[in-house]
């Protein structure tokens, strides 16, 4: 099968590798669509360490081709979203319901391994590593059955795939991680796919003031299209002044979907005393955050989320029902569709991804 392989920083190539075989508790999925995430780009650029050689892609959706022993949650022919929440279901964190920070999954996934500590990906005698337990920038992927979420067959795969990572992360940040509620005021810094989904999630939860912050005019326009009530350019507008004017005291919630120097700080400064800030993006894993102690004493809270803290088997089908109902316009995020052959160019550190989400569509499936 063809797959996008990272062998050294800055260099991605489409290679012919072996089709993986599912083991106990795993499924083989024929990919139909895979979103391109900034995490893929950060791994290619070296901002986030990668286990190389690595098959990229972690925002996939497709059709179950085969199931390994012991799998009864999905069957051949089912349409599935491949969630980046890789959980064992048995550890301390899973017991607490924190599936996205499963003690096994959060150790194995960054190391390019499946839950059992091995890899399914090979090219002849060579072992390749997987990205977040799926490696979906390939024609086929083996994933844990717990990460393969069955969905309705009438949902476009390009839309469904977004909930595997980016849209699921932003949406979950607003509906799972932060208690956004009716009448809340919200600031979202960064309006790529993740930030836009946070805006949608905040809107679904009943937030009535939703401020989008992004220097890109196209991103700000998209933000207003999907639910932002106001949009500002941080390079030109006085964001803090605007937020304070709109909310009188600072926003109830701030989300940082960028993860560069100063963006969590901006979200932190935008929230009122007692407000919550959620970090949902990371451009470079060496980034650190500097906040003032006095604001913490004023009971501001800073937290973060991995994968939107989603419970995939519950939250992903629910989000798609909201999409079908017209209340979660996920399709607005799909800015461009590409072919697998385009991936090396898309992931080139010099290439700027379009606002919203670039999605690779695989031919001949769904």
């Amino acid at each position: 099968m063809r797959a996008a392989v990272l062998r050294e920083i800055g260099s991605v190539a489409i290679e012919e590798i072996d089709r993986p075989v599912p083991k106990m508790g795993e499924v083989l999925v024929k990919l139909a669509a895979t979103g391109i995430c900034h995490t893929d780009k950060s791994m290619v650029s070296g901002g986030i360490p990668a286990a190389v050689p690595l098959v990229l892609g972690h925002e996939g959706a497709g059709v179950v081709e085969a199931v390994g022993p012991g799998v009864d949650s999905v069957g051949v022919g089912d349409h599935v979203v491949l969630s980046i929440v890789v959980s064992c279901g048995a550890c301390y964190q899973c017991g607490l319901g924190n599936l996205s920070i499963c003690e096994v999954g959060s150790l194995m996934s960054p190391g390019g391994l499946m839950l059992d500590g091995t890899t399914r990906l090979t090219k002849g005698d060579e072992e390749l590593f997987s990205l977040l337990g799926q490696s979906s920038l390939a024609e086929y992927a083996v994933v844990s059955a717990r990460s393969a979420v069955p969905i309705r067959k009438d949902i476009p795969m390009t839309v469904a795939s977004l909930l595997a990572c980016g849209a699921g992360t932003g949406y979950g940040a607003a509906v799972r991680r932060a208690p956004v509620s009716l009448g809340s005021s919200v600031v979202v810094v960064g309006c790529g796919g993740v930030g836009l989904a946070a805006i949608m999630g905040a809107r679904v939860r009943g937030a009535t003031t939703i401020v989008a912050v992004d220097p890109n005019p196209v991103a700000r326009e998209l933000a207003q299209k999907v639910g932002a009530t106001h949009a500002f350019d941080p390079t030109k507008d006085r964001v803090l002044r605007e937020v304070n004017t709109l909310t009188k005291r600072g926003a109830d919630f701030g989300f940082d979907a960028v993860g560069t120097k100063g963006t969590v700080e901006l979200a932190f400064q935008c929230v009122r005393p007692g407000g919550d800030v959620v970090a949902i993006g990371i451009e470079d894993a060496t980034n650190e955050v500097e906040i003032d102690l006095y604001s913490l004493l004023m009971q501001k809270r800073v937290t973060g989320t991995f994968a939107g803290s989603l419970i995939p088997q519950i939250d992903i089908p629910a989000a798609l029902e909201l999409f079908v109902d017209g209340r979660l316009p996920l399709d607005a995020l799909v800015s461009e569709t590409y072919r697998l052959e385009d991936v090396p160019r898309l992931l080139d550190p010099e290439f700027t991804l379009p606002p919203g989400r670039a999605v690779v569509s695989f031919e001949g499936v769904a």
Partner: protein, 139 residues
Amino acid sequence: MPVFTDTAEANAYIGKMFESVVGQPEFVKATEGSGLVVRLNYTGPDTVLLIDFPGQSVSYGEEAASATNATVDLYMTCDDAHSFWLGKLNFPVAMARKKVKMEGSTAKALKLLPLTKPLFAAYEKLLLDNGRTDLIEKG
């Protein structure tokens, strides 16, 4: 059979490699303002090294073990450390398989990454300069 026969030999190569680079302008510049102080806790043979990049110093043994200014602690065997400093250990995979354990700031630990290639080169050169091709072959 471990790569290093004893603590002195591990320190003589891994420690000396750091001693040779911490004062070099490229390392001083790369770590400026990072506050990067790394403690390497190795076993088989057991040794502890403290690399203080801002202070441009390397310390060993009890002095390193009892230091309170380390921002990152790394734990691994000397054999894995030897492979790592030769550029032959897949670090993310080793972390996942618990061959390497870390305490402290992940962000600070990752600031080491851009420095690893010159460190790999410095380590190999040190071994070559000392005629230890046998150790390179064991990496």
